[in-house]
């Protein structure tokens, strides 16, 4: 009988490719380290991967921009090539796969049937429910239908990107397509959110690897994000944090403070309220992250980040404020209107007081007001 790549375990594939057991363990330890996992996870990961067949992954893309997949293909630890060819069996991804049309859809159906209850469903993009699902359809089926069908046999669902995790930009006001996150459609499966716009590639692959090697959903925060990657705020781990503590803030993007690398809080950085691993793992193989490049964090891994006011107004300012602008006109009008009502009420209460005063005044009541 001819053994195909699909029948091999990950370890067998690697050994066939000339990678030694020692090298494999070193690789797994490096991956665990890159994912900030405990040291023993490297060995556990190696053992699990060595003996298990490549897990099946079905990757569905809905209402999204493909930025998440672009991010995933730039993963450094492990690389997307590692994931696809060595670790997982990516059975369906309509962007990466060579097949299209009927062939692609039948590949998905076969993978779901053969691995029912075992495959991991990765979802990228929000699910539009408006107009009967017509805003996002493939093969004549709406995204919602496809998701419900694919979710039935999934061991777990990994929502890649803020759109799949929280609705993201499609859900932002006024949400014209009635978009929803996956968690609003599927309620009976373990869901792991890997948010970000896009999410960090190492966080996507790390989350998948951790699930494959442990077989369990990792510890999640209140937004169902893996704590190992989303346990700290950007601010907590930011190299500019000492400047925040010293009260040294850049006031504009080209002032002396900005050139000196001071804190970007006053320029609207959302690092203090954003949970992600950007400041530790960094992007492009650990090269840098937005704050290191001189721009504040926009909080893209948080729910509703698009509707939380200007990216360029500080967190301590009113939500309606815009960078460099005094309170907008409607707020000034509100304050002026309130003050005008206050004048009327003040005059009325003084009038009532005068009337009472006149009625009760006696010669002995000759005392000053105030205290």
């Amino acid at each position: 009988m001819i053994q195909t790549n699909d029948d091999l375990t990950v370890g067998e594939m690697l050994f066939r490719a000339g990678i030694s057991r020692r090298g494999f363990i070193q690789y797994c330890t490096a991956v665990a380290s890159a994912m900030a996992l405990p040291p023993w996870m490297g060995t556990a990961m190696a053992e699990q991967l060595r003996t298990s067949p490549r897990p099946s992954v079905v990757y569905l893309s809905f209402q999204e921009c493909t930025g998440c997949l672009e991010s995933l293909t730039r993963s450094f630890a492990p690389t997307i090539e590692d994931l696809i060819f060595n670790t997982i069996s990516l059975d369906y991804n309509d962007t990466l796969m060579a097949a299209s049309g009927e062939a692609a859809e039948s590949a998905r159906a076969k993978a779901m049937k053969d691995n029912f209850g075992k495959y991991v469903l990765v979802v990228d993009g929000s699910v539009p429910t408006g107009a009967g699902g017509a805003y996002c359809a493939a093969g004549g089926r709406s995204a919602e239908d496809t998701l419900r069908e694919a979710a039935k046999g999934a061991a777990a669902i990994v929502c890649v990107g803020t759109c799949a995790a929280f609705g993201g930009i499609p859900l932002a006001n006024p949400n014209p397509t009635s978009a929803w996150p996956v968690s609003a459609i599927v309620g009976d499966k373990p869901i792991i959110n890997v948010s970000g716009c896009p999410p960090m590639p190492e966080v996507i692959t790390g989350t998948l690897l951790q699930f494959f090697t442990t077989g369990q959903v990792p510890d999640l925060d209140e937004h169902r994000r893996p704590k190992v990657f989303f346990g700290n705020t950007i601010h907590d781990r930011c190299y500019r944090r000492p400047f925040y503590d010293q009260g040294k803030f850049a006031k504009t993007f080209d002032d002396e403070g900005a050139r000196n690398g001071w804190c970007l809080y006053e320029l609207g950085c959302k690092g203090p309220t954003t949970y992600n691993a950007c400041a530790t793992i960094k992007w492009n193989g650990g090269t840098s992250f937005p704050i290191e490049s001189g721009h504040g964090c926009i909080g893209c891994s948080e729910p509703g980040f698009w509707d939380k006011g200007s990216f360029y107004s500080a967190l301590s300012t009113p939500a309606w404020s815009k960078a460099g602008e005094v309170a907008p006109r409607q707020v000034l009008e509100l304050a002026a209107g309130a003050a005008a009502v206050g004048v009327v009420l003040g005059a009325a209460s003084a009038g009532v007081s005068r009337l009472r005063q006149r009625g009760s005044e006696r010669p002995s009541d000759n005392e000053p007001k105030g205290s």
Binding site: S316, A338, A339, V343, L345, S371
Partner: protein, 219 residues
């Protein structure tokens, strides 16, 4: 909308509107009150009548030498926590940005760590003030709900602000939301409680001083 969005958005907007309405209401109501006619002949000139008002603002702001032994400590305590509050509110970077977004200009601030230390000191003074209020029989008798609630809501702003800065007890976004919500509550309470003394204190002293000067008294 999350809690922080609510605190920074609609809650703050409503609180600011109530603050403006209430403060103007109280000031106009106060300003339009009729002074009761003083039928006595003025004992001083108009100039002394007016200067008496101005002088009293200063003289009542400092303990009288005869009573300094009895009132000095209390006044020092009062001055200290007021100064602490002003420094924390006006010289902390994120506060300056907040005020700048309302008024259109900003000013230099102090290091955040120094502000944190000052906040702890101010909060300690706040507790000392409360201790004095509840242990001094006369002050306890003079105090009512307004005194205690005004103390509570101001202390709450300090505590939540400190917790947010030091990231104690909850995630930062929740602490910041609670801090801003406590500020919203303070803004709503401000015009209707004794916190309004911020606007009344100098005019009332001036009027008292002027009326006493008219009678020929020194205040």
């Amino acid at each position: 909308m999350d809690l922080l969005g609510f605190a920074r958005g609609p809650a703050l907007k409503v609180a600011l509107a109530i603050f403006c309405l209430g403060v103007v209401w109280r000031i106009v109501g106060f300003a339009l009150l009729r002074l009761r006619r003083d039928l006595n002949k003025p004992r001083t000139s108009t100039l002394k009548f007016l200067s008496g008002g101005v002088v009293t603002i200063g003289s009542r702001s400092w303990p009288h030498k005869e009573f300094i032994g009895r009132t000095g400590a209390g006044e020092a305590l009062g001055y200290s926590y007021h100064i602490g509050l002003f420094v924390v509110v006006l010289l902390f970077g994120p506060h300056i940005v907040f005020l700048g977004s309302l008024f259109g200009f900003t000013w230099p601030g102090l290091p955040s760590s120094l502000i944190t230390m000052l906040s702890v000191l101010t909060l300690t003074l706040f507790l000392a003030v409360l201790f004095r209020r509840v242990t001094n029989p006369v002050m306890r008798m003079l105090s009512n709900f307004d005194d205690y609630f005004s103390w509570f809501i101001t202390a709450l702003v300090l505590v939540t602000g400190l917790a947010a800065t030091a990231h104690i007890g909850a995630p930062y976004e929740k602490l910041l939301a609670w801090h801003i919500l406590s500020v919203d509550a303070l803004l709503i309470w401000f015009p209707f409680g004794k916190l309004m003394h911020a606007f009344y204190i100098f005019p009332s002293r001036a009027i008292n001083g002027a009326l006493l000067a008219r009678k020929g008294a020194i205040s």
